[in-house]
Symmetry: C2
Subunit: 328 residues, 2 copies
Amino acid sequence: MRPKLTDVAKKAGVSPTTVSRVINNYGYLSKQTKNKVYQAMKELNYQPNSLARSLQGKRTNLVGVIIPSIDNPFFAELVANIEKKLFEKNYKMILCNANYNKNKEQEYLRMLIANQVDGIITGTHNLDIAEYDKVGLPIISFDRTLSDQIPIVSCDNYQGGQLATNELYNAGCRHIAFLGNPYSISNPTNERLQAYQDTISKLGLKSYIHTVKFSESAALKTASVRQLLEQHTIDGIFCSDDLTALLVLQEAKKEKIDIPHQLKVIGFDGTKLIQTYYPELSTIVQPIAEIAELLTDLLYQKIEKEDLTFKINHFKLPVKILRNETTL
Amino acid sequence: MRPKLTDVAKKAGVSPTTVSRVINNYGYLSKQTKNKVYQAMKELNYQPNSLARSLQGKRTNLVGVIIPSIDNPFFAELVANIEKKLFEKNYKMILCNANYNKNKEQEYLRMLIANQVDGIITGTHNLDIAEYDKVGLPIISFDRTLSDQIPIVSCDNYQGGQLATNELYNAGCRHIAFLGNPYSISNPTNERLQAYQDTISKLGLKSYIHTVKFSESAALKTASVRQLLEQHTIDGIFCSDDLTALLVLQEAKKEKIDIPHQLKVIGFDGTKLIQTYYPELSTIVQPIAEIAELLTDLLYQKIEKEDLTFKINHFKLPVKILRNETTL
């Protein structure tokens, strides 16, 4: 068997990234490190195979990352983590803000193909599955079903929905509403709603489903929140994202509804930003760093070996509950 | 004089971007639009001059955007706005999160040069000015002095500092502290502190300067806030950014300091996120969309004509004050 880059790395006692950098004469490397790598390459008679394309200029070391909106703190933190992992692997990120806009997403896809990115990570789903099947590039999806061929990474949305609903129940709520994204095909975040319904049913409670699209403006969401709060029967709200939960807290304050005594609230996402600057909010914490790591690792594997298929198509990472004042 | 792309646009009654797209056969264009542009090109005997490089493959239509951290809401909103403007001009953004890390910034600069981006927008300043002078690419700086050759776009930080300090004074504060970034060379945000000092002096008050680096962790900032609040003399705080102001509100709540009756607080930045989800905070609003537009416009001009020099080197855009509960 021909030696691989990882064999060189092992022999030289350095990371594969370092070997890659030596081969590409890239980044900061001491003379000593370079010599170790050269020596190992010589001893193993290593020919930079998988990197040949890169050396011939066929790799661009660019990855396209398509997301709905970078000014949403969840996507900002996800992108920050993806960028960190890509950088470690000597990749750069082309950031594509699709803004819930089908045309923009389509044009970005074309640009990315034209620009010969090595692969794509996408967290949007405005386009038909067919559009993504045509791309002909390695793609990994975050939280979106795009095609049978495209692996999905997400948190365990169902587990999160269960945890959130049970948290409200255990805190004493008996009239628990769901506030958030409506059902839509191809969106695994649906499982948050599904888990809410299953759990409510198991607890023998009545379900109150109040949907408002994630992509709606804060003003429209606020109106929707107000409408929900007017239903005085509600004593607990599971919001399918933290920003919506913050709007609930705001409106409750305006309406002089005491949280947590009259109303308990739990969100979903748990970014560092929310944890730091809204420490009173209970939430379901997505493992954002782990999601970013898995997205980039899978993409990297697909780039290295394009016909690679994974045993599972949907990778679900466990969530954690963060109990704070709003569910005490 | 030879006809320019803008002449074609004028004659065809379309935008320059549309002409550029027709020439590059890019994006969505109706047959009618294409014909109008072709007709205008023919009539003017237009040769796509300035686009020649692009057609010959020498332009990559990539722009590198270097910022300290995308998970800071201010930079997230700035990047979202820059991306929007770049996209309109058929450019794509390579997002570089420098993370207050000199080595990472340097490596990104090298990557961007190697990747032949057409230009760079940078909002960091970890590196020596010499590093940026060596780049040999069009660069526009956001809020950082990098070199005499590199134009700077920023809000009017001095005006912001004046407005903030006067707001606290007019609300009745007589012991007004500054909390935020310490002085550092090459950082125009210094002017926020300078304006505070000048205004305090003009008002005949005593200045209380409590510095904590913008790049510090929230935990360390919180400790610093607590220390400041223990100085019972303080009745107003001007924070040099909104996130620090949120920490002040949090600590005040913990210490049962009544805001705004015992202590008034004003921040700086005024992102949509803060305005929406922390509507009680008074702040100085930076014109983020206008900053993004000017950054991209100037860069675009520099890309079109590399030896272009601007009459002024520092473009300052006016800020606005947003009065909310924390300074009532």
